[in-house]
Amino acid sequence: MTMIDILLRLHQNSYYFFAIILFIIGFHTMLSHNNLIKKVIGMNIMDTSIFLFFVAIGYVNGGRAPILEPGVPYTAYVNPLPSALILTGIVVAVSVTAYALSLIVKLYKHYGTIDAEEIMRIRGGDIQ
């Protein structure tokens, strides 16, 4: 594959490509930040990128949203299955976020900081 082919291919599948980029950004946020809230934000970016990826699978060129109208003949609709699945996925991500935030509230109360390294330091100190 030449460079031009690769670029054309990425252009054609740009949603997938940018979803992957977002995934990497989210992962990077999770790995490189010590602030726990930022970790949770990174987690959300990651999840959102996967939702974008999944919903993009269901698109059909020229398709409409799958809301039928009685009496109107069948036209092109997008694939409804990925959208329906991602509705579930979004709720899952929201639940995890809510629970993670409640844990951060408690962590702040116990350690007085939301910095991961600081917490590690305090823990290491009181165990030995």
Binding site: F23, V40, I50, F54, L85, G89, V96, I104, K106, L107
Partner: protein, 496 residues
């Protein structure tokens, strides 16, 4: 249509229903919480035993949600592996929560007791759903419930270590879930199906068109489920989480939860991905090496621990390695050994954690070096602990011996005696860290709190005796469980 036809779904839904009812009960009928929990899990146990009987007599069957045929609706597949896993989950879960009704009283605050039962029921329901389901996305949903519920039963305890451990576990398993969802998206993109059976039919046809997609999805599944199952390089969350949690939580997390993800992995590897693909990439070899490292390194870490629960947690990392060793060897006896080890380790490890919990309850100490002479003052938990230790080492007449025997046989079958040697070495390592504790406990001079322990409640003693007799029973009569295990292994390998 009688109610028994709906046992597959009722085994999950009755647990969910009681979990939904629990907040109402704890507000207005507090004393009903415990019987409701025990009753719901008891119902699931009956349902799973009935399903087991049904599968053993008439063969595997399917249950379609809402009567929608497979590619459109969700279905449960009740096969040998699923009924085996359901039975393990419900039996061990029932015994652990029966123990917990007493133990939790001193570990948790009174106002969160009801929430503990809610989370426990949801955890049980999600585990049963995960092993029964035959749909990729449905599996993801149950994985998520299981992940949050298992963090919940850690963070419910009143200590800052628990919250920190739960947060680490939650973030890592969220990364794992992200990988799972991405893998499901890739599978769906190239096959157009989510049902295991249909995906398995479609994959060989599209394998040449999109090889990279399928391989990356397999790698993502391995990472996603590996994080949750604490497979070796991804195990970093486990020691903290399993050692700081309340004892019943530790028992159920170590005994059941990590195994359930291993079962999901077995289903994906053997039922969904075509064998040609597994030959194309060294996935199975990778799993084998990760398992070997897990067995050796987990045991080594366990040797240096002085905290009883931390030692057990590190030993879990080693034990999940055995399960994956059985998965990776791809021979009938090894797969039997791996699946059997799921059951055996569930009994052994929950018994070890519960007896450790009983010792902590009675004496208040978690330090191994303080437990001299505890066998004289607290015979039941110490004997249970010793039985568990013997089973871990793999001494004959305990059930641990049987599964190690099958694993070793399997590795010899495929001509890889190296892995049999690994099993032998790890048994020695297990002996190094378990046997001195046993010797110390029976031949030491009790002092301090160990000399005058609190008396143990009846529930704790009964649970420990039940689990201990299970260790002996399945060690002396392994054929009780081997029937379904060998059927499961044969059907996974396509020999049935």
């Amino acid at each position: 249509m009688s109610i028994v036809n709906h046992f597959p779904v009722l085994a999950v839904v009755v647990l969910l229903l009681f979990a939904y009812l629990m907040p109402l009960l704890m507000r207005w009928r507090k004393e009903w919480c415990v019987p409701a929990t025990l009753g719901a899990i008891g119902f699931s146990l009956i349902a799973s035993l009935y399903m087991m009987w049904q599968v053993m007599t008439t063969g595997p069957f399917m249950y379609q949600m809402g009567s929608w045929a497979p590619p459109w609706g969700i279905e449960f597949s009740i096969d040998y592996l699923a009924v085996f896993a359901t039975m393990t989950i419900t039996i061990v879960g029932l015994i652990v929560i029966y123990y917990g009704t007493q133990d939790l009283l001193h570990e948790l605050k009174e106002q969160v007791m009801g929430w503990y039962y809610t989370l426990y029921l949801l955890l049980m329901a999600s585990m049963i759903g995960m092993v029964l389901t035959n749909d990729l996305f449905n599996m993801f949903v149950f994985v998520e419930i299981c992940a949050i519920a298992s963090c919940g039963i850690i963070s419910i305890k009143e200590s800052r270590e628990c919250i920190e451990a739960a947060f680490k576990y939650l973030v890592l398993s969220a990364v794992g879930s992200g990988c799972l969802l991405l893998a499901i998206a890739m599978i769906y993109m190239v096959t157009g199906h989510l049902n295991f059976t249909y995906v398995a039919q479609a994959l060989p046809q599209v394998m040449d068109l999109y090889p990279l997609n399928i391989l990356v999805s397999l790698a993502l599944f391995l990472v996603g489920l590996g994080v949750k199952a604490a497979l070796f390089p991804l195990h970093v969350w486990l020691p903290d989480a399993h050692s700081s949690a309340p004892s019943p939580s530790s028992a159920v997390l170590s005994g059941l939860v990590i195994k359930v993800y291993a079962i999901a992995m077995i289903k994906l590897l053997y039922k969904v991905y075509p064998p040609e693909l597994l030959g194309m990439a060294p996935i199975m070899n990778m799993i084998l090496w990760m398992a070997t490292l897990a067995i050796i390194i987990g045991s080594m870490f366990a040797i240096v621990q002085d905290d009883i629960k931390k030692m057990l947690a590190y030993s879990s990392i080693a034990q999940i390695g055995y399960v994956f060793l059985g998965v990776g060897l791809m021979s009938e006896s090894a797969l039997q050994g791996g699946i059997l080890h799921i059951f055996n380790h569930a009994i052994m490890k929950s018994m070890l954690f519960l007896s450790a919990g009983a010792i902590i309850y009675a004496t208040g100490t978690r330090k191994l070096s303080d437990l001299k002479g505890i066998g004289i003052t607290l015979p039941v938990p110490t004997i249970a602990f010793s039985l568990g230790a013997f089973a871990m080492v793999g001494i004959p007449i305990t059930n641990g011996f049987i599964s190690k025997w099958y694993l070793a046989l399997g590795s010899l079958d495929v001509g890889r005696p190296f892995f049999a040697a690994v099993i032998l070495v790890s048994s020695l390592l297990n002996g190094i860290y378990y046997l001195p504790i046993v010797v110390n406990a029976f031949f030491g001079e009790p002092e301090g709190a160990v000399a005058e322990p609190r008396p143990l409640p009846r529930q704790m003693v009964v649970s420990l005796i039940l689990l201990g007799s299970g260790v002996i029973l399945f060690g002396v009569f392994p054929s009780l469980i081997l029937g379904v295990v060998s059927k499961a292994a044969q059907s996974l390998l396509g020999l049935l």
